[in-house]
């Protein structure tokens, strides 16, 4: 299909006006009535995901209970040219599961079973609605766990983790979702069930497992996941190092890596984040520090002893003003408490906050932090930085008040400027939260038209009608042209809410 035709298909779906009553009739003719929701009060809980600034009631919600029902739902929607947005736990931070008023929201919330635990091969077969943390809890007695641990792990589901290629605190050592799954069952846009990947360590033909992971629900619906399980480390220990200068803290991150240590986690908080979290959870962070590093090492007792000594020596050499080593698991939990409470802590000092997700080469940490500080002055908005320093993955939290006219718009513009700052330093606009609707315009900055066109062509190989999660993740060239024009003329992004779909 020609590029123009692909783009037309996407725009046609976005602008379509399916007959709701007719579609309900067709769905309940083949599905149990109780899995098809269409009354406003039943739709309300699905109007947003974790990016709650964007809200939209779906036309219809389908809550299937079996893979057969998912296949049926997809077949009916496909036959009627109706768009489908798949949703897991709805904790995503980029609006990837934002519903459409002219489309179906397919919730996988009822797929909550752990189907099999294979100790010999160290794997678990789970349904997509299983919570991330529930997997580790279910295999803990076997001395095993599932490594990727997004901060929402208590609530987020594994299907959503696969769709977003979620990360977490322990990625540098243990990898992202894409490194920790071996097989998927998917339902295609026209209702066919397919196996992606295999129980072996590779699969003949193309590596569709890599392609499907992080595809944000645009290529297929995930209905089953086989994850890898790892042996639990004997011990984990944390070094807390304070610095009086952000640049020194950034250099210490690189120095730890260069010393040949791959920490299990390497996190950084800047001064505003330290102060806010300290007031909130009293983790006894040094509130006069410009930045603190939390460096966790794990493994056997001998390994942890060796690496803790190395890390301590490195941060002292790099000019840490204070170094603490957790003495036991209770103290380790206290060290982490501040980091883990960073987001809710922002809720105490600001009515709303906006979380960014750019990733940069580690060497640019200090420059980008300083750049964000300058942008903060320019936009007149406070920002606190917490981030996965080991991965170079930043989470600047822009503080704002949605009740103040125009402040959300200004915040989004500020966020866009942070994305572009990350790109200038050789980074990416999103490390682990996904593009969704939130960063779709910045995709036009990160990728030239030929790359975007290639993405659309790949999408077309899976979904030629463009029905799966349209308007997310990959912008049309038309949209980029509009964004570019507005960008140049005003330096602002006054998109009305509807345009954001």
């Amino acid at each position: 299909m020609a590029d123009a035709a692909i783009a037309d298909a996407a725009e046609k779906v976005l602008a379509s006006r399916p007959d709701k009553a007719q579609l309900i009739d067709k769905l309940v003719a083949e599905l149990p009535e109780h899995v098809v929701l269409h009354a406003e009060e039943d739709l309300r809980p699905f109007e947003c995901d974790g990016l709650s600034a964007y809200r939209q009631l779906p036309m219809i919600v389908i809550l299937p209970e079996t893979i057969d029902q998912v296949q049926t739902a997809m077949r009916v929607c496909h036959a009627n040219d109706v768009a489908v947005v798949a949703r897991g736990a709805g904790t995503g931070l980029s609006g990837g599961a934002l519903p459409m008023d002219n489309g179906v929201l397919l919730s996988l919330a009822k797929f909550k079973q752990i189907l099999d635990i294979d100790t010999e091969n160290r794997r678990a077969t789970v349904q997509p609605g299983v919570r991330n943390l529930a997997i580790s809890e279910a295999v803990s007695h076997l001395g095993l766990y599932y490594a990727p641990d997004p901060s929402s792990q208590i609530a987020c589901s594994i299907g959503g983790n696969v769709a977003e290629n979620s990360g977490g605190v322990h990625c540098l050592k243990y990898g992202l979702t894409t490194h920790n799954i071996v097989q998927l069952e998917i339902v295609t846009v026209d209702g066919e069930r397919m196996t992606i990947g295999s129980e072996a360590m590779d699969t003949p033909g193309y590596d569709l497992l890599a392609l499907m992971t992080g595809s944000e629900g645009l290529l297929g619906v995930i209905v089953e996941v086989v994850v890898k399980l790892l042996p639990k480390p004997e011990r984990a220990q944390v070094v807390l190092a304070a610095f009086d200068d952000v640049r020194k803290a950034g250099d210490a991150v690189a120095a730890i890596i260069q010393a040949g240590i791959i920490p299990a986690g390497l996190e950084m908080l800047d001064s505003p984040a330290i102060i806010a979290t300290e007031e909130f959870v009293h983790a006894d962070y040094p509130t006069d520090a410009a930045a603190i590093l939390l460096c966790e090492v794990d493994g056997t007792h001998a390994e942890v002893d060796e690496h803790i000594a190395d890390v301590t020596a490195v941060v002292e050499r790099e000019g840490a003003t204070e170094v603490r080593v957790s003495r036991d698991d209770a103290e380790r939990a206290v060290f982490w408490a501040g980091r883990k409470a960073a987001f809710p802590a922002m809720g105490r000092i600001s009515p709303d906050y906006y979380c960014m997700d750019g990733t940069i080469p580690r060497k640019a940490l200090a420059d980008v932090l300083i750049g964000i500080g300058e942008l903060s002055k320019k936009y007149g908005q406070r920002v606190a930085n917490v981030f996965h320093a080991g991965d170079g993955n930043l989470h600047p939290l822009i503080l704002y008040d949605a009740n103040i006219e125009g402040e959300l718009e200004r915040t989004e513009e500020f966020g866009g400027a942070i994305c572009e700052l990350c790109l200038e330093h050789g980074g990416t606009i999103t490390g682990e939260h996904g593009v969704g609707v939130e960063k779709i315009d910045q995709m036009c900055v990160q990728f030239p038209p030929d790359e975007l066109t290639q993405f659309h062509a790949v999408k077309n190989a899976f979904d030629d009608k463009g029905l799966l999660n349209p308007g997310k993740a990959v912008p049309t060239l038309h949209r980029c042209a509009e964004f570019g024009a507005m960008h140049v003329h005003n330096g602002e992004l006054p998109f009305p809410e509807l345009e954001r779909l």
Binding site: M194, A200, P204, D207, G299, T300, P361, T430, K459
Partner: protein, 354 residues
């Protein structure tokens, strides 16, 4: 150091011309992986001239190099900084290039423990089948902007795009490495290896051959030594040549050329298969090499029943890679067309129909 040259323009131009004339291209690097997959008919597109390290900063754990760069040269550059390609790529000859390594997606004995070639790909620059130079992914550890077309290139044998540059995550060399040897039958070895892998030990290789299990531990010094104490077994002195020979198929098992050589990719704990022939076990059970005259269809049925697949490394059966189902093949054909609409990039290399 060999020459460093950027031939992006020449390669792009060659592909564009081939696209316009619809004439197939046969992609070649050092030729060391030419025996994998099917033979390709087409005009030769040699990428070895597009070579050199583009960017390497040890503190970032990232190396970007051009596809034609000799693998041995890259490994030397990394070693000088105390780093390595942790998927331990097989060379299968002196002239192996980075591009061929990633295109074939091959990984060495460390694969189950540290990851496969695809796991270390952070970004690629490619020429698609229309002669457009495109960049996907990047040089950062985490990147979820756009579809992951970079990792898709690993194991695609150049059929979706000509690799130009590849950015890889690299890792520090282990401070200590020790190999322990145990007397085991094959089934006993599989059980034992599975048990060991449930311990948080720094295992980086698990191989069985002719009544002996070879277990490699590598990493920080103290955990390697303490794990060895708990494990027992005999230490294999000077173990590096041993693991190189496993990686390069230079063990005596591989030199017996009388019978076809099959690679069986299986769930690691799959039982020993009842097949007439000789077998060695690598990847802790997940990769088994079989020298056997067994009929291809019969073998593939047995292996598939265990959740695996069988590909031919030496011999005449066709297709050489394990066939995939009809609807999966149709999807992969559509994916191929989306990147190479005229079907000019290494057509038929993976399957005659792809």
């Amino acid at each position: 150091m060999t020459t460093s040259a950027d031939q992006t323009e020449q390669l792009t131009e060659r592909v564009r011309a081939a696209f316009e004339s619809k004439s197939p291209l046969k992609l070649t690097g050092g030729g060391t992986k030419a025996f994998l997959g099917e033979q390709v008919e087409g005009d030769t597109l040699d990428v070895t001239g597009h070579a050199g390290v583009v960017n390497y900063e040890p503190g970032e754990l990232v190396m970007t190099a051009r596809a034609g760069t000799p693998l041995s040269e890259l490994e030397a550059v990394l070693e000088a900084e105390g780093q390595m390609l942790a998927f331990e790529p097989p060379h299968y000859g002196d002239n192996a290039t980075l591009g061929g390594t990633i295109a074939s997606g091959v990984s060495g004995p460390a694969r189950p423990f540290t990851g496969a070639a695809r796991d270390f790909v952070l970004g690629t620059r490619i020429v698609n089948g229309q002669g457009q130079a495109l960049r996907f992914g990047g040089e950062v550890m985490k990147n979820v902007a756009g579809y992951d077309l970079s990792r898709l290139m690993a194991g695609a044998y150049g059929t979706l795009g000509v690799l130009l540059d590849i950015s890889l995550k690299v890792l520090p060399l282990p401070r200590t490495q020790i190999t322990r040897v145990f007397e085991h039958g094959p089934s006993e070895a599989l059980t034992q290896i599975s048990d060991w892998q449930r311990k948080p030990w720094p295992i980086t290789g698990a191989y069985w051959e002719d009544g002996k299990t070879y277990l490699r531990l590598a990493g920080a010094t103290s955990p390697v030594e303490s794990a060895c104490e708990k494990l027992g077994g005999e230490t294999l002195d000077d173990d590096k040549p041993f693991w190189r020979d496993v990686r390069e198929q230079q063990r005596p098992f591989f030199s017996n050329a009388d019978k076809p050589l099959w690679r069986l990719s299986l769930p690691p704990a799959a039982p020993m298969l009842d097949i007439d022939g000789d077998c060695v076990i690598d990847w802790g059970g997940a990769q088994r090499w079989l020298a056997s005259d067994i009929d291809a269809v019969a073998l593939r049925r047995i292996v598939k029943d265990e959740g695996g697949h069988a590909s031919l490394y030496r011999g005449d059966a066709s297709p050489r890679f394990h066939p995939i189902g009809e609807s999966m093949l149709a999807l992969q054909q559509r994916l191929k067309r989306s990147m190479d609409p005229a079907g000019i990039l290494n057509p038929g290399r993976i399957y005659p129909e792809l």
